[in-house]
């Protein structure tokens, strides 16, 4: 048996997209995406239809770009022998082969990776134990719950120490306890030198995990950078509050005195107010309410969520 390959150095480029475009017929799934990813946990964010799964399939080398180039591990092409078993994927979809047991399926994949039957079974048992399924390892996959099947998929992705681990919505169907456990598993892989890409359409889901975020919107890369930079963008974008109260004019006066308000609109008992950044408006609201002596019946916010950020960034890109 050969020795496991040495983990990539922290500054290694595990995955590089160079002006990658992917079309399906007339539909553009990904447009002119260029980025480099290094070891660590990367959050791949975007609303439904943003191109996350296409990005992951391209990163896995399952599909080829329509134009542009993708390289792995400091410039290797996809079919290079050094990439054998170095890319792992936990695909989307909550079904798995119905007539196989969890152990049969994971061990089968390990055998296809080149493990002997004995080692494949031993490693499969270990990794299923790690995801809390040792008691269910001999059950048919069709009999497992959705969350358990998700953990089986994760088990096969972490069964061998890959350099690039691609996880498509890995936290779907998991309860809070197992979300934490899977987060620990992801961190362990990243600590071992892997680049773990976690896709999600919920920022909060990956913010605990990822040090680096990639934001896609309608197939375009709208931002890529450290998590703090992305969060700053989110806080700095315009935020709109809609407040329903008996005297919206009085409340508007108080807010104007306390926050960098850029827009005020009053319609009946509803005050619509926009500020340059979310934090200052939210900080100003409680003292303004106290000073006006009003009790707001309803407060809703617009513009401080991820979709709004995507739209704002996409408008800039446009």
């Amino acid at each position: 048996m050969p020795q496991p390959p040495t983990p990539p150095p922290p500054d290694a480029v595990i995955l590089e997209f160079q002006r990658v475009t992917r079309q399906f017929g007339a539909r553009l799934a990904l447009l002119d995406v260029s980025l480099q990813l290094q070891p660590g946990v990367v959050g791949l964010l975007g609303p439904n239809g943003a191109g996350k799964t296409t990005f992951l399939n391209l990163a896995a080398g399952l599909t080829s770009p329509t134009s542009g180039e993708i390289t792995w591990l400091d410039g290797l092409p996809r079919r290079h022998p050094q990439l054998d078993n170095r890319i792992a994927l936990c695909a989307d979809g909550d079904q798995l082969p119905r007539r196989e047991t969890a152990l049969q399926w994971v061990a089968g994949l390990l055998r296809l990776a080149g493990c002997t039957a004995l080692i494949a079974e031993q490693r499969a048992k270990q990794v299923l134990d790690r995801v809390g399924l040792s008691a269910q390892q001999d059950q048919l996959l069709s009999k497992l719950s959705r969350g358990q099947r998700q953990r089986v998929k994760l088990a096969q992705a972490f069964a061998l120490p890959a350099a690039l681990v691609l996880l498509d919505e890995p936290l779907n169907a998991l309860d809070p306890v197992w979300r934490r456990q899977v987060a620990a598993l992801i961190q362990e892989a990243a600590d071992a030198g892997a680049c773990v890409i976690v896709s999600s359409h919920i920022l909060e889901e990956v913010e605990q995990l990822a040090h680096f975020l990639v934001l896609l919107f309608k197939g375009r890369l709208v931002a890529a950078g450290r998590q703090q930079d992305i969060r700053d963008m989110l806080h700095n974008q315009a935020t709109v509050l809609e407040i329903t109260c008996t005297d919206p004019r009085a409340l508007a006066r108080e807010l104007l005195a306390r926050a960098p308000v850029t827009l005020v609109r009053i319609a009946g008992e509803t005050l619509t107010i926009q500020a340059a950044d979310a934090d200052s408006l939210c900080r100003a609201l409680p003292p303004a309410v106290v000073a006006s002596g009003l009790v707001p019946a309803q407060v809703t916010t617009h513009g401080d969520d991820l979709v709004s950020l995507f739209q704002a960034l996409a408008a800039e890109v446009r």
Partner: protein, 267 residues
């Protein structure tokens, strides 16, 4: 047995015995073994076991009627038994990738080294072997049910039957695997292939006949029992028919590999 404890030391991400990737041949056999294990499962394949039984029941019925016309036997075997064989290959062939594509497992399978070539080749072989076994049982069942009533199956005719089953299974498995890889509604396209290309065009349009397994199978089993040497189709046609069937199987495998390389279903 549920809940058997894991063996060996606890899991660690980086502490794994690193496998040497399989060769294309070894990977093909690994895929072959895993897929064949699935195919023989009666809970999955019971419709095909039943389908293979139908021609046997039909031939037993012929024997009971004691129709003294050997040509009906040849026609029966070709038109009914070979169609049953083709239908088995259709159901199993188009499902080679579809089930894994629908379940989301195909992308994870394709990331194993050599899988893009080994997966279709290994699974094609598994379907071919399984359909051959079903077809073999069918041939033996038909011949046994007719034995001693209408004719004595000559060894030459039996060999032709076996060749038709083995190479027919290979060709149909390859063709239908490719159809299943390229078309989401592979069963519909497969049935259309059987009805339009294999049944009608193969006999009406000479240039398209080469795409139809039935064209080559006719050269093997159309010859009537006991009259094969005197029939129009002579033994000279056998090598050409076998090459044609192998060619269709290879074509199907190549088309499937191309599909998996370009844009795998379900990815």
């Amino acid at each position: 047995m549920n809940g058997s404890p894991s063996s060996g030391p606890p899991w660690s991400y980086s502490d794994a015995v690193w496998p040497a990737p399989l060769s294309n041949l070894a990977a093909s056999f690994a895929h072959f073994g895993l897929h064949l294990r699935n195919l023989v499962n009666p809970r999955r394949s019971w419709p095909y076991y039943l389908l293979a039984l139908l021609p046997v029941v039909g031939s037993a019925g012929l024997a009971r009627l004691a129709i003294d016309d050997a040509s009906r036997i040849g026609t029966f075997f070709q038109e009914f038994a070979m169609r049953a064989l083709a239908l088995c290959a259709l159901g199993l062939g188009v499902g080679v990738f579809r089930e894994d594509a629908d379940s989301g497992a195909l992308p994870m399978l394709l990331l194993r080294p050599r899988a893009v070539v080994a997966l279709p080749v290994g699974r094609w072989l598994a379907v071919s072997v399984f359909v051959t076994v079903l077809g073999g049982l069918m041939v033996v069942g038909i011949d046994a049910s007719l034995f001693g009533t209408l004719f004595s199956v000559s060894s030459a005719y039996f060999v032709r039957q076996v060749l038709a089953v083995v190479f027919g299974a290979m060709a149909y498995a390859g063709v239908f695997m490719a159809i299943g890889a390229w078309f989401k509604s592979g069963t519909g396209f497969g049935l259309a292939f059987l009805l339009i290309v294999d049944l009608i065009l193969a006999t009406q349009v000479e240039s398209l006949a080469r795409l139809a397994p039935a064209h080559y199978l006719a050269a093997l089993v159309q010859t009537l029992p006991g009259k094969e040497l005197a029939a129009a189709q002579t033994a000279d046609q056998i090598p050409g028919a076998l090459v044609g069937l192998i060619g269709l199987a290879v074509l199907g495998c190549v088309a499937s590999v191309l599909r998996l390389r370009m844009d795998p279903p379900g990815a």
